[in-house]
Assembly symmetry: C2
Homo-oligomer: 230 residues x 2
């Protein structure tokens, strides 16, 4: 049995959450990885998450089915085209790729798992630098979730409220990558694209790909993940 404290780590298969997993380990936690199958048009993210969890030696990797498609309302879950070659963040407002209440639903499941596994720590890779208009990636939102969680659960009532760790909150994408490389993260396993092809290759043109490619370029590095047309 490990004597390390367990921590729930939300793992998407992307670059950010892979780094968060490594950071949780570097802080001495035993990570329990948690991913969601939420009506994405591609299972590629989850395949990536499974590889990332295995490479990190996570004790457990749970995948929860949640189907937001019954609700409709977002490019990431419904049949709306993902915007390409546009800087949505610069255009302002909340992007079309926003999924309603997504982080709230994800963190709620993490809270339940934390309680069942007797974990007092949850890690999530939200980021206020690349915020891009997602309301549920801001520090004020995370703080409010933490306060609610302290009142929601047996652990909170009994004096051991869950702490939500957001180690990437203030980091730029290139700083995230640099730190992950120090910790041995294999970014070739991660997938960030909103609209990969059937072979799992990134499009290189959506918001997520553009951010990622720019960050690797800034570090003078090649992104080891596969891109279509390269």
């Amino acid at each position: 049995m490990s004597t390390k404290a367990p921590a729930i780590v939300l793992l998407s298969g992307g670059l950010d959450s892979a780094t968060v997993l490594a950071l949780a380990q570097s802080e001495g936690f035993e990570p329990l990885a948690l991913s969601f199958r939420y009506g994405q048009r591609h299972a590629i993210e989850l395949t990536a998450a499974t590889k990332v969890a295995a490479a990190a030696g996570a004790r457990e990797h749970l995948i929860i089915d949640i189907d937001l498609r019954v609700f409709g309302g977002s490019a990431l879950t419904a049949e709306i085209a993902v915007p390409k070659d546009r800087d949505q963040a610069a255009e302002g407002g909340i992007p079309i790729t926003y999924v309603p209440a997504r982080n709230t639903i994800f963190l709620s499941y993490a809270l339940a798992l934390a309680e069942v596994r007797d974990a007092a720590d949850v890690f999530i890779g939200v980021n206020a630098v690349d915020y891009s208009g997602y309301p549920d990636c801001r520090p004020a939102y995370i703080a409010a979730f933490e306060k609610m969680a302290a009142l929601a659960t047996r652990a909170g009532v009994e004096g051991r409220p869950v702490q939500i760790h957001t180690p990437l909150m203030r980091m730029t994408k290139d700083a995230i990558i640099a730190r992950g490389l120090e910790l041995g993260v294999d970014y070739g396993l991660t997938r960030s694209c909103y609209d990969p092809d059937e072979a799992g290759r990134a499009c290189g043109r959506c918001d997520s790909c553009r951010l990622r490619l720019t960050a690797f370029a800034k570090l003078g590095l090649d992104d080891p993940a596969p891109y279509a047309g390269r």
Copy 2:
């Protein structure tokens, strides 16, 4: 098209949420009923919820699959015996029938649906009188959820935060039933038992049955729902 404001109503098939649905209508809302299939040992609750929604003429009744069984840890989702002939509330502490973070998960989905359906109101039948040690039924918890929700969503950011209505919070069970009867609720359609038989008849002995039977008796009425051995 109705000109009434839509409200998400969490509907379990039990006595309380059936009353909440009627109360939401009496306040002029157009209810969108939302139920969850969460690994219960009995589908009887959901059959009851469907009948209650239909009887009330709800515009929509969505059932979301969530599977807390992968987590384990509660009598209502795992294979642990439901306590009988004991007053858990009087024994103090959090009861074995507690489901980890359940209301947080339910309200998170309600928040997502509210955003997609452009609703600013969510109704939930939590009650602090029969609190029975459930942390996520207390007014402080609901207030904290509301604050978090205001920061979580596009609607909240754009100035129309969701309000969580808890009309039963301070009502005794007999007052809830009396009010529901005034509003025409058919309690014969509702099911409250933690451990019904295969025919859907209540056990009459679990915490939930005892509360309900006592309340009907207090009003000098027979509970119209079916009980085993009667």
